[in-house]
Amino acid sequence: MPSKLFSSPIGKKMGMALTGLILYGFLIGHLLGNLLLLKGDGGQAFNAYAEFLINHPLLIPAELFLVVVFLLHVYLAISVTRENRRARPVGYQATQSVGGRNFASYTMIYSGIIVLVFLVLHLKTFKYGDKAEGTLYDLVSATFQQTGYLVWYVIAMLVLGVHLWHAFQSAFQTLSVRSDKIRSLGLILCLILALGFGFLPVYLGILK
């Protein structure tokens, strides 16, 4: 396949769409796993699940795959955004949306940056956090007792939801699938993910 595919505007968009959908799939799996936090068994099921993942032989390859996909997504986002800025050096005095532009669609790069910062902190806190004094569940519970962290976490999850709202239907449009069903499904999924990930820290930090 000729190399220009990946440097062309359409190739880049398809790359964005495919990497984005893979990451979307990861988020769904991650939320399903995290729902074990709600079980009310003092974290036994959650810890067992974490142990299962840590000892799984495919964990490292899967993580490497996700890292590559994520970095590619970030690289393409930066590249596309820079080209788009260059394409309109002088803006309009008056602007008005009459099509499908919304808060989510024109803030993708900013919501993306917030999610990127969140991800780095999230990995540092939990994946590479200090678990010497207890299990992962203990670490998660203790972390969400800190109000500041809890607030930042919930806000970041709402930003993630906004990012995913535009992302889902946009990815399918790029991959030539466009329908109202996809739009509705995208809205439902982004609400489930944002509210699901946002609810867990509230449950562990306040409600429990």
Binding site: K12, E83, N84, T174
Partner: protein
């Protein structure tokens, strides 16, 4: 204003003319920085087209003799040539739906309001003067592949190439593009994907376009990139302002065609 209201006003000795403040982009030339300038304008009749309103404003500027008239593009003034194109109050071709700037009437604007008029904004469409932009980037994209090579030596037999009504309609929907550039102007990324997709589709789905199908797709996408248009981020603003209501489904088609052409090794 309805006809009935106009008649009542006339009977009562009142004028049904409208007044506006026209805030307009003035730029002397390619390298001039340019700025917005406001002009009060009275005695605008509701049935005037937007371009006629600009003609009236230019008449006043000429009479005063203090400033040069405002330069703007227009040709057929019936919505088919694609020459006129202004961003009016932040919307390409203004508030009408499926219409060009020349098909917009002054009754669409509230009496006494300020109307902001700007040229298409894109690095690939440099402003030449006031509201006139250079859209030859579109011509170069067409030159790259927006044609079908057909032997014109002798007249072909009638009905030797059968095309279904459905296919002809689909191709015509895409061919309705007049190349005005509103899609680029309305896109926050100044992307020309709707234009290129329409041009690729109307040739790629017809039998006459088949021999050059993959070559055309790749050449036109590459030309689009070289001209410095941005990338599509699926906001569908282009579809909303397109005077010929070209749908973004064509962009999905272009994406598929491009991938097919690359797989075919073009």
């Amino acid at each position: 204003m309805t006809e009935e209201q106009s008649r009542r006003k006339r009977d009562a000795g009142q004028s049904d003319c409208l007044s506006f403040t026209i805030s307009i982009w003035r730029q002397q030339g390619l390298n001039d920085k340019g700025q917005m300038v406001s002009y009060p304008l009275k005695r605008v009749r509701p049935e005037m087209s937007f371009l006629e309103m600009l003609d009236v404003l230019n008449g006043e500027l000429e009479r005063k003799g203090e400033e040069l008239p405002i330069s703007f593009d227009s040709d057929c003034r019936e919505g088919i040539c694609g020459m006129c194109g202004l961003v009016i109050n932040g919307v390409a071709h203004g508030p009408g739906h499926g219409t060009t700037t020349c098909q917009l009437y002054m009754r669409s604007f509230a009496d006494g309001s300020t109307i902001t008029i700007e040229p298409w904004r894109a690095a690939a469409f440099p402003v030449i003067k006031d509201l006139v932009v250079d859209r030859s980037a579109f011509d170069r994209i067409i030159q790259a592949g927006g044609y079908a090579s057909i032997n014109s030596g002798s007249a072909p037999d009638a009905n030797s190439m059968l095309i279904s009504q459905e296919l002809a309609s689909e191709a015509f929907d895409a061919a309705a593009c007049i190349g005005c550039g509103a899609c680029v102007a309305s896109c926050k990324n100044a992307s020309a994907m709707l234009f290129v997709s329409a041009k690729v589709k109307h040739l790629n789905i017809l039998p006459q376009g088949q021999p050059e199908r993959h070559k055309r797709t790749v050449a036109m996408v590459e030309a689009m990139q070289q001209e410095g248009f941005g990338n599509c981020t699926n906001e569908y603003e282009c579809e909303a302002v397109c005077p010929k209501e070209i749908a973004v489904e064509h962009i999905s088609f272009l994406n598929r065609e491009y991938l097919k052409a690359k797989v075919a090794g073009k």
